[in-house]
Amino acid sequence: MNPFTALGLPARPDLTDDQVRGAWRTVAAQTHPDRADGGNPAAYAAATAAYAQLRTPWGRTEALADLTATTAIPPPGPVPPAPARAIWRTLAVLPARIRHGRPLRMAARAVIAAAVALTALTVIPGTASAPAIVAGAALWWALTARSDLAPPPGR
């Protein structure tokens, strides 16, 4: 079982000893078999085991290591590239990258780009410049909004 879940803690590397001890005390107070209602011995045992594992920074490192994906580093040898999967993975994390980045600034940039494009399409319709300005505004937004995205996981 995930020891972080057993203590109701997020699986993060920056937890402190006090946070872990506090979480364990809370769970233990609610589930201890000495309680009048008999508690929840199974949950208490799980929390105690989790606390034993997470009480030191090194223990947390170990527990976190069990949860993170770097075991996926394969043994030495050629790995077939999977561009389609990479693109899909990039797109899948995009909403989270926007959320953890600067979404308001990105939105502001999008509004400016849209306004410029709309102005061009309204003021000079039917000219070669209008679609060019729309393309230019979209490109400007794409180039400048990149820095507003949070880096992908692991970077």
Binding site: P13, D14, R25, A28, A29, H32, D34, R35, T48, A52, T56, P57, W58, G59, T61, E62, L64, A65, D66, L67, T68, A69, T70, T71, A72, I73, P74, P76, P78, V79, A96, R97, H100, G101, R102, T119, A120, V123, I124, T127, A128, S129, A130, P131, A132, I133, A135, G136, L139, L143, R146, S147, D148, L149, A150, P151, P152, P153, G154, R155
Partner: protein, 627 residues
């Protein structure tokens, strides 16, 4: 020719020259007016570059990107009207239409019509004009006074710093590693003798060479080092997914103290964020075994770990070395623990081990016999002082990263011996054929604190020969080595680059970047004012300006590499806020146990004392808590 005729000829010549000058100015003015869309864009671009401290390269890059707009414009023009002439004359037609609209005060309409052509052209013209302006000012041929170059440079530096700091605010500007495997360090403030890029990114291959970091206390050295470690780790982990060896980082914090613990915890957090699984902090949480070192090397190391005198003491040093070699390389195999080793420094044990010894060994044993007690006492004291963290069951290869804390300030002699042992263990891990090959980076922060007996250059040259990257830091030029010879040996062989942060004596370091040719202009003094006549000559100036380095603010660094200097604003290392994906395969079981004793007596070394498991609810919440 008469005097009158000569005067008339001179006057005609002067008028002709002035006329030509006026004509040239008029032609330029006319061109600027006629090409008003380009002129306006160029003026705006140049003003923005001046205000933000941008180099011309930035305008050229923007021009290159905006050609996409021009391409769409030309494609659309081709779709609207057939024939290449229509396409080629489309900008002229639009310019005529825009000029007519301008006459009718339709400014927005006119501007929009010209944007696809005027923007790239204007940016290029603005870039050229800005280049000319910078050259003119810095060579002293423009500006209102001879102080103009210095004033201009100082002002532009301030603006460049402000722009670089502004770029740091964007979360995606400086990730810890790029998709291409380079390690971004921070936005570029100024690039000298090198092509400008918005962000300085170090290729991962530079880490397999050697890097030197020099910066005073408080200059931001820690941030830089953690960023480089994390970036290297992330880049190496990316490479590992493509079948290259897994990364292993070994960082030696040679000063120690409470700061080191905070730094270790921060390093661990950042490394976790880039996918490191096990980040071991030595000696507080994890141990290594000195006894993993092959017997011959172990005997030499144990001998080197003790202080040796000169003169008559050299004799005892030889005796000690002979005994150590016999004890460690005994027929039954090397010792596996400190207790096992000390047990061997006993006449009875050695006699038993070498019962079938050759005559030479038996003679040596007999000769060393009277000294064995002293040698045992000496090594018992040494191993006791080193603490139990070098006598544990752990192995360097068991973790993804090690953070070794050596108390170099508090206990220099102990820290020196520990540093020797740890570097030997790392060297063993790098060369052991039995172990999994790993991409290794050995980073030593303030190594000078423990380098009295293991000079930094040794570490450096050792790393080179073992094929592992070495990164060393010092607080000053003097901290790099005992004498100038050693300092130059370290700094001059830093193929991976030299990071110079704020330091009061950067001269020897900036020499390694070399000089560049600049034009220096002298103005002729007429009375009490500077006239418009003077001389120019080619001079050599430092590529990395030592005065600028002395004035660097916290978090700014000058990266010297292959005759170039890049001033950079170091970005604080923060891994992505996005969680790493969940593991698909379980991790290996725990193999590094925590340190089991009190280390060096530092309160932080003590192992946790919370009793587990707890017996009752009172033990959890205090007496009387049980309902």
């Amino acid at each position: 020719m008469s005097v009158w005729g000569l005067l008339r000829a001179l006057a005609v010549l002067w008028l002709l020259r002035q006329g030509l000058r006026l004509a040239r100015a008029l032609i330029v003015a006319a061109a600027l007016v006629v090409l008003w869309p380009v002129t306006i864009t160029a003026a705006i671009a140049m003003f923005a570059a001046w205000l933000r401290g941008w180099p011309p390269a930035r305008l050229y890059r923007a021009a290159a990107w905006s050609t996409v707009m021009t391409a769409v414009y030309l494609i659309t023009a081709a779709l609207y009207g057939r024939g290449w002439r229509t396409v080629a004359l489309a900008p002229v037609r639009d310019w005529q239409a825009a000029s007519r609209l301008l006459e009718h005060a339709s400014i927005l309409h006119a501007a929009l019509l010209m944007v696809p052509v005027a923007v790239p052209a204007g940016l290029v013209v603005g870039g050229l004009a800005w280049t000319w302006r910078i050259n003119a000012i810095s060579t002293g041929t423009a500006g209102l006074s001879p102080y103009a170059p210095a004033v201009f440079d100082a002002r532009q530096w301030r603006r460049q710093v402000r722009a670089a700091r502004g770029a740091l605010a964007a979360p995606g500007t400086v990730p810890l590693v790029t998709g291409a495997g380079t390690v971004p360090v921070g936005p570029v403030i100024r690039a000298v003798a090198r092509r400008w890029t918005p962000v300085l990114a170090i290729p991962a291959v530079s880490f397999t060479r050697h890097m030197v970091i020099v910066g005073s206390s408080g200059s931001g050295k820690t941030n830089l080092m953690i960023r480089l470690w994390a970036g290297w780790y992330a880049a190496a982990a990316q490479a590992a997914r493509r079948g290259r060896p897994r990364p292993l980082l070994a960082a030696l914090d040679c000063k120690g103290g409470p700061d080191a613990r905070a730094k270790a915890a921060r390093t661990r957090r950042v490394l976790h964020g880039v996918g490191a699984r096990r980040v071991a902090i030595w000696p507080d949480e994890a141990t290594v075994s000195l006894w993993d070192i092959p017997p011959r090397e172990l005997a030499v190391l144990l001998h080197q770990m003790t202080e040796h005198g000169e003169g008559a003491a050299a004799y005892y040093a030889d005796v000690s070395q002979a005994v150590l070699t016999m004890a460690v390389c005994a027929p039954g195999g090397p010792p596996r623990s400190a207790a096992g080793f000390l047990e061997r420094l006993d006449p009875g044990w050695l006699a038993g081990a070498y019962a079938d010894a050759r005559p030479a060994e038996a003679t040596a044993l007999r000769a060393a016999g009277p000294h064995l007690g002293d040698i045992q006492l000496r090594y018992a004291t040494l191993l006791n002082r080193l603490g139990p963290a070098l006598d544990g069951p752990g192995n360097i290869g068991d973790a993804d990263a090690w953070y070794f804390i050596l108390e170099g300030t508090r206990e220099p002699s102990v820290a020196e011996a520990q540093a020797m042992a740890i570097t030997e263990l790392i060297a063993h891990a790098a060369t052991s054929r039995a172990a999994e090959p790993r991409a290794m980076l050995l980073a030593a922060d303030d190594y000078s604190a423990v380098s009295r007996r293991v000079p930094l250059s040794n570490l450096y040259e050792r790393g080179r020969s073992l094929g592992l990257g070495v990164m060393v830091s010092a607080q000053s030029w003097q901290g790099l080595g005992a004498d100038d010879d050693e300092r130059y040996r370290i700094a001059a062989t830093a193929d991976g680059g030299l990071w110079v942060m704020q330091t009061p004596y950067p001269e020897p370091l900036v020499q390694l970047a070399g000089t560049r040719r600049v034009l220096e202009t002298a103005h002729k003094l007429i009375g009490a004012t500077w006239g418009d006549e003077g001389t120019s000559r080619i001079q050599h100036a430092w590529t990395a300006d030592p005065d600028l380095i002395r004035q660097l603010a916290t978090g700014q660094a000058c990266y010297i590499h292959r005759g170039t200097a890049t001033y950079v604003q170091i970005a604080r290392p923060r891994p992505s806020a996005l969680p790493l994906p969940a593991a698909r395969t379980p991790a290996r079981p725990v193999i590094i146990p925590p340190a089991r004793a009190t280390g060096n007596g530092h309160p932080d070394h003590d192992p946790p004392t919370i009793p587990l498991p707890l017996a009752g609810l009172d033990d959890v919440l205090g007496p009387g808590a049980a309902p």
